[in-house]
Structures are given as structure tokens and as C-alpha cells.
């Protein structure tokens, strides 16, 4: 109430945070919960079948399986943070993977050039999404649902019944796809680098913080004079580029590219981001959370058969996880909102 009660301790100017505050904040972070969930899944599965973690293959799969999804999830998180969504990443992955394969078959370009062209192709496809969203002012859900089909259609009519086989891919690339550096698969290292750069750009630079702002309240972003169009374009270009990179990694890992490459993976990317605490309405969450979400998702996928859960239940479990994550986020957010309001009342 506004009558003059003695100032409560909470209304005194708050001191700068101490190390203890920082630790508490870290423990309360949404990402911590996901890491714990991931470790729990890992522990339970390993307890039942120790080779899940303590075998050469188990260790490698732990990192290798999620690496492509991590790259996609980072891109997806960036787009979702700006209050958009990119459903076309699976199709971009497929189209870029096929284009990369074709370049290996049809041209004699050096491997690295082909890979870069692949990523660049992804950026272009992402920019098309971004331009449609930013200029046509149509919700990203609709635009990218459209380009999901368009890009897949282009790939199917280009490939026909043709497919790229491992024999068409340079052996150097294929061996890179299965190689390890310091006991960690090379593809996983690439996903870590992507994650580190993504986390830095989103957390520590103006561009990244402005994307959070735009997703948090687009109208406020206009009043602040933020460059919404540019940031939207950049977000979609990043997502497209990362989907392109994922396509290139797909080639390196599998060698075989059929028209079904990357089919449906966009939902796993969105799922990973959401499970990892990226709010579907933008403005909050981190790329790190999305990456951990990808790890949790893929590890559960691999772990469920070991736990003796039937094949068709696995998808249901993943779906349940997504719903639980969203509901949990909503509950936590409401609770925080109420707490902040209560603090205000106490003043």
C-alpha cells in the first residue's frame, strides 16, 4: 500500500551480486534442470546396461548421435528467440545434403569448397525464409511450413529416384565423419564449436541481445528503434546456414543421401529447443539449453530400447517430454511472475 510504512529491507537499494548469488543463479537456471535430467537418463540406462556409456561404441554414440541435431537446435533456438520458428530446416538439410553430393559427383571442386558452398546454399535458403517473414509480414509458422514442402519438392524433383551413394563421396570426408579427436567424435567437436559461437553471439553481443528483445516484445523493439528486419533476416540466415552445415555433416556421417534425408527432423529441432527451455513465444532461453535439450532427446531415444520400452512408445515419451517441458516452463514463469508481483505489493 502507498501509505508510509517503514521501508522493508527488500526495498533498500540492492547491493551488487556476490559470488554466492551467482552460484545460486546458476543452480536455479533452467539449463541446470535439463542437464540433471540428461544425467539421470544416462545414469539409469547405464546402470541397466553399462555398455551404454562404458563401451567404445556407447561413448562415441553418446556424442555422435546428437551432433547434427545440436547444430539444428542452435539455429532453431536463435529463430524461436526472435518469436519465429523455422520448420524448413529438415528440408534445407536434405536439399543441401543432396546438392553437396551432386557437387562431388558432377564437379571436381575441392572438398572444403564444396562444403562451404553447401553451407552457403543453406544461408540462401534461410534468407528466402527470412525475407518472406520480414517483408511479407506473414507468420513464420506459415512461411516455413510452405518452404518445408517447397524445398523438399525441389530436392525430390531434382533427385528423382536417384540417390547419392557412399561410393560417390570422397573417402576423406567419410573418414572425417567417423573420426575422433581426443576421444570425442569430430562431428561432435564441430557441434561444440557451433554451440560456443552461437552462445557467445546470442549472449554477449548487441545483435544477439536485440534478438531476445525483439522476441520479448516486438512493439517495444520498434519503439527502441531496433533493426527488426535485419535481425529477423540474420536469424533465419543463421538457421538456414546451420541447417546447411547439418546437411554437410549428414553427408560426412552417412554418405548415402536419399530424398528422405532429414525428413521430420525439424520437429526434433523444435522439440530440443523447447525442452531446453527456449520459450516458444520468444524472448527467453539459451542456445546452450537447446543443445542440452538435443542431447536429452537423442539419449532418451537411444536409451528407451535398453530400458525395454517398446518402439512405438518412444515417440509418445518424447512427445510427453515436450509437453512436460512446456507446462513446466509455463508454471515456473507464472510462479516467477506472481513472485515479482508479490514483491511489488510488499513494497
Amino acid at each position: 500500500m502507498s501509505t508510509a510504512t517503514p521501508t522493508a529491507p527488500t526495498t533498500a537499494p540492492p547491493p551488487p551480486p556476490t559470488t554466492g548469488d551467482r552460484v545460486r543463479k546458476l543452480l536455479q537456471a533452467r539449463e541446470t534442470g535439463i542437464v540433471l535430467a540428461f544425467l539421470a537418463v544416462l545414469a539409469v540406462t547405464t546402470a541397466i546396461n553399462p555398455s551404454f556409456l562404458f563401451s567404445k561404441d556407447g561413448w562415441r554414440d553418446l556424442f555422435l548421435t546428437p551432433s547434427i541435431l545440436v547444430v539444428l537446435a542452435v539455429g532453431q533456438a536463435i529463430v524461436i528467440i526472435t518469436r519465429n520458428v523455422d520448420l524448413s530446416v529438415g528440408s534445407i538439410l536434405g536439399l543441401v545434403a543432396y546438392a553437396t553430393g551432386r557437387m562431388f559427383v558432377d564437379t571436381g571442386l575441392p572438398i572444403l569448397v564444396v562444403l562451404l558452398l553447401g553451407v552457403l546454399f543453406g544461408v540462401v535458403l534461410g534468407l528466402i525464409n527470412g525475407a518472406l517473414v520480414a517483408f511479407a509480414k506473414v507468420p513464420a509458422l506459415v512461411i516455413t511450413l510452405g518452404t518445408l514442402y517447397v524445398y523438399r519438392g525441389v530436392m525430390m524433383s531434382w533427385a528423382g529416384s536417384d540417390r547419392i551413394n557412399a561410393s560417390d563421396i570422397p573417402s576423406g570426408l567419410l573418414s572425417f565423419g567417423t573420426s575422433s579427436i581426443l576421444w570425442i567424435p569430430s562431428l561432435a567437436w564441430i557441434s561444440f564449436i557451433v554451440l560456443a559461437i552461437g552462445a557467445y553471439l546470442m549472449g554477449r553481443t548487441r545483435g544477439g541481445r536485440e534478438m531476445y528483445a525483439i522476441g520479448s516484445d516486438p512493439d517495444a523493439a520498434t519503439l527502441y528503434g531496433l533493426k527488426k528486419t535485419k535481425r529477423t533476416l540474420v536469424a533465419f540466415a543463421a538457421s538456414g546456414g546451420l541447417a546447411g552445415l547439418a546437411g554437410v555433416l549428414y553427408v560426412a556421417r552417412y554418405g548415402t543421401i536419399s530424398s528422405g534425408a532429414g525428413l521430420g527432423i525439424e520437429f526434433e529441432a523444435v522439440g530440443a529447443a523447447v525442452i531446453g527451455g527456449v520459450a516458444i513465444f520468444g524472448g527467453s532461453g539459451t542456445v546452450l539449453g537447446a543443445a542440452v535439450g538435443a542431447y536429452l532427446l537423442m539419449t532418451i531415444n537411444r536409451g528407451l530400447p535398453i530400458l525395454g520400452i517398446q518402439d512405438f512408445w518412444q515417440r509418445a515419451v518424447v512427445g510427453l517430454l515436450i509437453i512436460v517441458a512446456i507446462v513446466l516452463d509455463k508454471v515456473l514463469k507464472d510462479r516467477q511472475h506472481k513472485k515479482l508481483l508479490a514483491e511489488r505489493d510488499a513494497e
Binding site: S2, P14, P17, R209, Y212, D217, Y224, G225, Q336, H337
Partner: protein, 505 residues
């Protein structure tokens, strides 16, 4: 940046105009503001103030006229350009990023940077703390902006303006949603900013604030400039006359009505932490004013009575019939109507047409065999819109595009179309202009005259005293006084509202 000597012309608009399609929002707006002064800009809603503010802020580009800053002509295409030129606007309801920290909200788009474009968080945090220390407000810069009171959100906007070293600050109705203490704090800060040599524009409907705070006053009416005076040279009456272009004796046209039997009877209504043992009666033909400070629990009481919110104990009766708790539909059937305080959020569907909004509460009655004919809707809506004089060219206009006063009329039309016995209005004239206010008052008075029981919540004392047959005062969730029209003096109401007499509550 050194500010210019006091008295320099900082901002000068001359005959600026702006039209949207066929609607002339601003026909010839002029405003000259000098440094080191607070300049009041007053006008009814729809007079063009907001349009002018948006032109100054770079959100709109004027169709004609000149706009100069410190003697140089400017033509802003974006809000960023205006901001760079030293203009800051503090809106009535600031738009912050709820998910981000207070510090990030202050520095968004211009964070201090180190190598590799890395944001220097430490520098940002230090400056934010320094800003709040200087403003003397205890806001934690690391907390999210979500959940901040409107007053604190405005403080953040002001902190932003100071850190930008804004030379011109526009405050667009900043006090409309603030409590008394918050208003005082804001005014103290505004005076400090003036004394630093900045130029301030203060837009408000509250004349007591305008006269205690401002040095100069510009009046606008119907999208055009009317006058500019030193505040010492004019009286409130002068200003009001210029605002409406007529005398305002008819501001509170309370007519005598025959007061009948009790229609609404609330007894012992209690909700832990919010209100306690509330007894309240409203009779046929009577207007009861529910007065009190902002946050005293008045809205909560009526919302519980209407069934929107739950309550722990007590009963609500209409015409002797018990109104079940938690069931607004039943309340409507029994003849209660509640016009909520926040018309944009709770009163209207902004993306719907005027017609749809007006018939929203009586769709079942208008439908035949479960089908709703638009003919029936339009006929009903047209009747009510014309009776309430909703100013619009077509009833297909979206409610969100109307001015505040017209929106309020649409909400009233919606509820009156249910033909209620009890009309509860929560802050019926907040944020609407003097002319429309008088129309709303006349309407309420007419309705009472026709035998409706009216319960009116209002924070504006003159409104309560002018309109109510009986004033019930609430203090911290309890009724502290019940005054008849003749006993209801401003002093008596304020005493009861602050509960300064007698310790028992």
C-alpha cells in the same frame, strides 16, 4: 553533452499535420518548448496530442509543417533517428522487454562494447546502479522487467533517457495509472531534470498536476493549436473552456432520480488479504460512488460480487435473489453488468468490429435456432451506438482503432444492451477526454433516472462527489465511511480513504 542555456528553444513544431486515409489526426499542431522548462500539453482525447508526440518521436512522419530541434530542421524516419537527436518519450504504459533484465532494458541497442563486439556487462551494471542511485529509487537492475509497477517502468524509461543524455523528454500521460506517492516521486524527478536544463513536455488530463508542475501550457483542440501561456497567467477554468470550446457547467449533470427499493445487496463479503466484511446496498435509481485510494480493493470487491473472482465468505443478492459465486454468466442473467476498469484488456475484443463488441453479451438472445444473423446484430448495435453517440463512420470499424472515449462508449453499449438492473462501472472515465466524460456522466445519470441501480468506482474525487447520491469509502479492503450526498465533502472522503481519523479499521 552540455545542455544549452535555459530558455533556448529546444523543440519547435509549426503547423504540422498528419492524415490517415480520410481521417485527419492532426490538422495544424504547433508547439515550442524551451530548455530548462516543463511544458504542459493538454487537450481532449482525439485532439491530436498523441499524434504529435509520435511525430516528435519519429514514429510518424508529418504530412506538412515544420519540425526543428535546437533551430535545425529535422525529418526523422525512425525512432532511432529521433533518439540519436536527443529525444526521449516516456509513454503512459511503457513498453519494456519483460523477459530481459532492467539493465538490458535501459541499454538495449547501445550497450557498451569491448573487443569482438563483446558487451561490457560490468560497465552496464555500474552505470545502471549509478542511474538508480541518482534517481533515488531502489530498483534492482538485475531483476527482469516483468512484474514491475507502471511507475517503476516509467522510472526505467527515464533512466534510459538520462543515460542517453536526452535533451528533450516527452511524458505522455505518465501519471494516469500512478498512485499519489508515485506521482510525487515522478514530479520530483521531472523537476530535477528541468533544473539540469532539459526540456520537458508533460501531457496530462489532471489539471492539479499540470498547474503544480509546469511552467508553460499549450492547449490543443480538434487536431489544432489553440493557445500557449505561462502557467501563472491562466486559471483551470480558462484552460477547460479552451479545451472543450464551451463552458463546463454541465460536467456533472446529476439529475434527481426517484430512489426505490434495494436492488443490489452485498453483505459480509470477504476475501482473505483483499477485502473484509463488505456490506453494500444500491437502490433503484441510485448512484453509489465507491471511493478510495488506488489499491484499496474496490475493483476486487466488485469483481468478486460479479463472479469473476472468488470470495471466501458473504453473499451477493440482486432483487432478493442470491447471485452464485464464481459465475459471471449467472450474474448477467440476474441483471448485473460490470464495465471493467481496463477496457482494452477486459472490456473489448480489440480485433473485432464495433457491432460484434456491442452484441457480444447478448448473442444468445439475438440468435434464432442457434444461428446469429448479422442483420439482428447490426440493428441492435446501431441502436446502442447512436444512443451513446459512438463517433465512427461505420460500425465495421475495429474497436481497437477507436479513441479511448469511444471505446468506453462501446463497452457501455455492450453492457446496457443486456438491460441490467445493476450497472457497475469501474473508473468509467479514466483516460477519456472532458467532453466525452460529460457525456458518460449524463448517460449514467439518465440511466439512474430510468431506475437503474448504479455502482461507480472512481478515483477522481470531483466525479464521485458530483455524481453520487451516496459515497462509500474503502480503505485497505474495509468500508470506512458511508456518506450521503450532502455530507460528502472532499475532506470527509479523503479522511475515510486514508483512515486518518480513528485507529479502528
Amino acid at each position: 553533452m552540455a545542455t544549452a542555456a535555459p530558455g533556448t528553444v529546444a523543440l519547435e513544431l509549426r503547423d504540422v499535420s498528419k492524415t490517415f486515409g480520410q481521417v485527419v489526426a492532426l490538422s495544424s499542431g504547433s508547439l515550442t518548448v524551451t530548455t530548462g522548462s516543463i511544458h504542459a500539453l493538454v487537450g481532449e482525447n482525439g485532439a491530436g496530442k498523441s499524434t504529435m508526440v509520435k511525430i516528435i518521436a519519429g514514429l510518424y512522419r508529418p504530412d506538412g509543417g515544420t519540425y526543428a530541434l535546437f533551430g535545425e530542421a529535422v525529418d526523422f524516419r525512425t525512432t532511432a533517428e529521433a533518439k540519436d537527436a536527443g529525444i526521449a518519450v516516456i509513454y503512459q504504459e511503457p513498453t519494456l522487454f519483460p523477459d530481459l533484465s532492467v539493465t538490458e532494458n535501459i541499454f538495449m541497442g547501445r550497450q557498451p562494447r569491448g573487443r569482438l563486439g563483446r558487451i561490457d556487462r560490468k560497465a552496464m551494471d555500474t552505470e545502471a546502479r549509478a542511474l538508480f542511485a541518482r534517481l533515488g529509487v531502489p530498483i534492482d537492475p538485475e531483476r527482469p522487467a516483468d512484474g514491475l509497477s507502471i511507475a517503476d517502468q516509467q522510472i526505467i524509461e527515464i533512466a534510459k533517457a538520462i543515460s542517453l543524455d536526452a535533451r528533450v523528454l516527452i511524458m505522455d500521460e505518465p501519471t494516469a495509472a500512478l498512485s499519489g506517492v508515485e506521482v510525487e516521486r515522478l514530479m520530483t524527478i521531472a523537476r530535477a531534470l528541468r533544473d539540469e536544463g532539459r526540456a520537458l513536455v508533460f501531457i496530462s488530463h489532471r489539471f492539479d498536476e499540470v498547474f503544480s508542475l509546469c511552467d508553460t501550457i499549450t492547449v490543443m483542440r480538434d487536431g489544432a493549436y489553440v493557445s500557449t501561456d505561462r502557467i501563472a497567467d491562466v486559471t483551470v477554468d480558462d484552460i477547460v473552456r479552451r479545451l472543450v470550446g464551451r463552458d463546463v457547467d454541465d460536467l456533472y449533470p446529476k439529475q434527481e432520480a426517484e430512489i426505490g427499493e434495494v436492488v443490489l445487496e452485498i453483505s459480509g463479503l470477504t476475501r482473505a488479504g483483499l477485502f473484509h466484511d463488505v456490506d453494500l446496498q444500491v437502490r433503484r435509481g441510485e448512484i453509489v460512488g465507491l471511493a478510495g485510494l488506488v489499491g484499496a480493493g474496490r475493483s476486487e470487491i466488485v469483481q468478486a460480487a460479479f463472479g469473476v473472482d472468488p470470495y471466501d465468505a458473504g453473499t451477493v443478492k440482486v432483487n432478493g435473489k442470491k447471485v452464485p459465486p464464481n459465475d459471471p454468466a449467472a450474474a448477467i442473467r440476474l441483471g448485473i453488468a460490470l464495465v471493467p476498469e481496463d477496457r482494452r484488456k477486459h472490456g473489448l475484443v480489440l480485433d473485432s468490429t464495433i457491432t460484434r463488441n456491442i452484441t457480444m453479451a447478448i448473442r444468445r438472445r439475438l440468435s434464432r435456432a442457434g444461428l446469429l444473423s448479422s442483420g439482428a446484430e447490426v440493428t441492435t448495435a446501431r441502436d446502442w451506438a447512436s444512443r451513446l453517440e459512438v463517433k465512427t463512420t461505420t460500425l465495421d470499424t475495429l474497436a481497437g482503432t477507436l479513441s479511448g472515449g469511444n471505446q468506453q462508449k462501446v463497452v457501455l453499449a455492450k453492457w446496457l444492451s443486456t438491460r441490467p438492473d445493476v450497472l457497475i462501472v469501474d473508473e468509467p472515465t479514466r483516460g477519456i477526454d472532458v467532453g466525452t466524460k460529460a457525456e458518460v456522466h449524463r448517460l449514467l445519470s439518465e440511466l439512474a433516472g430510468e431506475g437503474m441501480a448504479v455502482l461507480m468506482i472512481s478515483s477522481e474525487l470531483p466525479e464521485v462527489l458530483g455524481m453520487a447520491d451516496r459515497v462509500v469509502v474503502v480503505h485497505e479492503g474495509r468500508i470506512t465511511a458511508e456518506l450521503n450526498r450532502e455530507d460528502a465533502t472532499p475532506e470527509a472522503v479523503m479522511y475515510a480513504a486514508t483512515n486518518t481519523q480513528g485507529a479502528s479499521a
